[in-house]
Amino acid sequence: MFIKPYGDTSDDGAVQLSFTLPVKNCGRAKEAARLYVQKLGFKKVDVVHAAPLSEDFTFFVAYGKTDVSLDYDKVEYAEAVDKYMSMDEVNDFIKTHFKRKLVIVGACTGTDAHTVGIDAIMNMKGYNHHFGLERYPMIEALNMGSQVPNEKILEKAKELKADAVLVSQIVTQKDVHIKNLTGLIELAEAEKVRGKMLLIMGGPRVNNKLAKELGYDAGFGAGTYAEHVATFVVKKLYERMTTRK
């Protein structure tokens, strides 16, 4: 199935854009904006708004239509888990299959000081009425907070015999998160603990695809709740347990 953006009619290809150009706001600037959007491949370009941001910059809102379409059948993307369980289902699953509490250690690592992501997944309260892992009776959850060095979180994970490690990365400016995330994998491999625990990453600018590329077991992006992560953890651990038997 080939798809195109839908504005007010099937396959009209309508797209809304906003951007800034480094020129003074004037008629010529607006024409430049129109031509620029045209160069991007859009047809019927309409620059509907232009506003000066300073003497050297102008902000534009534009609409255009595109001929480009995409074969949706050929799009490949694997979600970390097909079907998520609820908090209660996760707990029952652990009780039935593991007969012990699972240990999950999490932190916002490296220089990143933003705990909003790891807090949403781990803290008792959770986020948007989805309880965090600390609330799960069958999960022993430790949130180490922010700016935790890779060495520290791994050390703690070994000490507690963690089943899974959650790493949150919010700041992604200049790809600082990639370096840090890769560092943890390398460290885990060097210390020969990579196979002993699940390594999972999360953050608004990461996803499962990136996680796999970097060598993580899974990655969770914006809109993730604790039960999503928990479902992945219990299913993956169960899968490992049963295939090893």
Partner: protein
Amino acid sequence: MTPVKSKLGLSKPKIDSARELAEGITAPVQEFIDGHTTVTIERATLRLLGADGADADGVPVPNLIASQCAEKLSGGAAQYYLNALVKLNRTPAELNKEIEKGLNIADIELTDAKRIQAKAAELVKGLDARIAGNVAHRNAKLKQYKDKVKSPLIYVIVATGNIYEDVKQAQAAALQGADIIAVIRTTAQSLLDYVPYGATTEGFGGTYATQENFRIMRAALDEIVEKEGRYIRLVNYCSGLCMPEIAAMGALERLDMMLNDSMYGILFRDINMYRTFTDQFFSRMINTAADIIINTGEDNYLTTSDAVEKAHTVLASQFLNERFAFNAGMPARLMGLGHAFEIDPALKNGFLYEYAQALMAREIFPEHPLKYMPPTKFMTGDIFKGYAMNTLFNFVSKATGQGIELLGMLTEAIHTPYLQDRHLAIENALYVHNTMAGFADEIEFKKGGVIQKRAQQVLDETIEMLQDVKKRGLFTAIETGMFAEIKRPRDGGKGFDGVYEKAAGYYNPVEAYLKKKLKVGK
């Protein structure tokens, strides 16, 4: 700005009792502070006396001197610097160069105390003149352009990592209507136990706070001040392990505001509590001397905990921040106490609670500029919903007479602001502020209605909490997780080894100057 009578029906005796509790809670902490110094207080003192520069490895001169002094820091580092100036007959600039090259000034035998004191008097006089000059300049510009002062003042952040890119964005924002520019610091600078030297062009999620960067941005904003005929304030982060040094640099380079909280570093950066309490006191004296408005960090309580359930922790912290600031000689007009619009947008009547809590802060702290922070926790990639939330935030901010409004960015959850994000935020704020200019004077609240009851409830819960904190003592209260549900042991955290009990005969001419100027202590 001071309301004639409480629209919220808040009880004056209750507010007074909360203040008394805060006084009781901070008193034993202040006793500790008075008997101690820290490595960064000593470095700040050196900076204010002229120590500056860095060696070939980038180690700043104040840090070199502090290392040379080692345990002698407990007696005060200033005497060694002053002694070297006197005995070697050097200017601070000349001496700094020699220290950069390896001169150890702690090894030089101390000369007669009178000569050291005379040198101190000379340098402190110069320091006082520089700070007074900065204050006079700011006041003159504020007076000259007073008809263009907005209420609330519009505050935006730049955070490119490169001071020269920051300049472009800051100037653009100021031209669009921003009154206050904050250069956010690179992530993790708060945990560096030194302040980098020189102009910087690399940073993550922000730009290094350095004295040279302060100077570059100050000059860039001063250009816009003259062009626009409006005073533009510059802000940085007086927090972390170098809190007093940042204050010193800000005082020297005419910053106008500083993020500065008495407990933020302890709770959210795991900095040792003794270190933070001692540092915040010295920092606040410097900020007060330089007429710099502090912004406290209570918004952080609401990003880690629920904004409805934990609203009272914000008010409790405001009372403590206020008392700690009073202890440092700071007048209320310099206390930008923080709070935030962070209630879950899905909550029914959430707007009424936000309104109640913001007005409550205004009524309880009538002379304080109040720093109001935008929604962040519930901002998502849905920039359109985010823009709507920011509009309501702007509404509450204007309706409740906040002093300093940090504008919300529609791309809050996505990236550091693009040039156009700030523009859209400022447009939104200017529109709302103008269209409802006289709204606050028109409105009263139903007696016993949702809004009144909410504010009264938060005040009651705050008093309960403060009573509990007083019973346990502030150190223990923090250890047991009473603030932000975060537990910090009193001897844990970063920077504990940089806290020193003042030795008998501790000498610090800058501290003496500040205390005298601000009438602090006995």
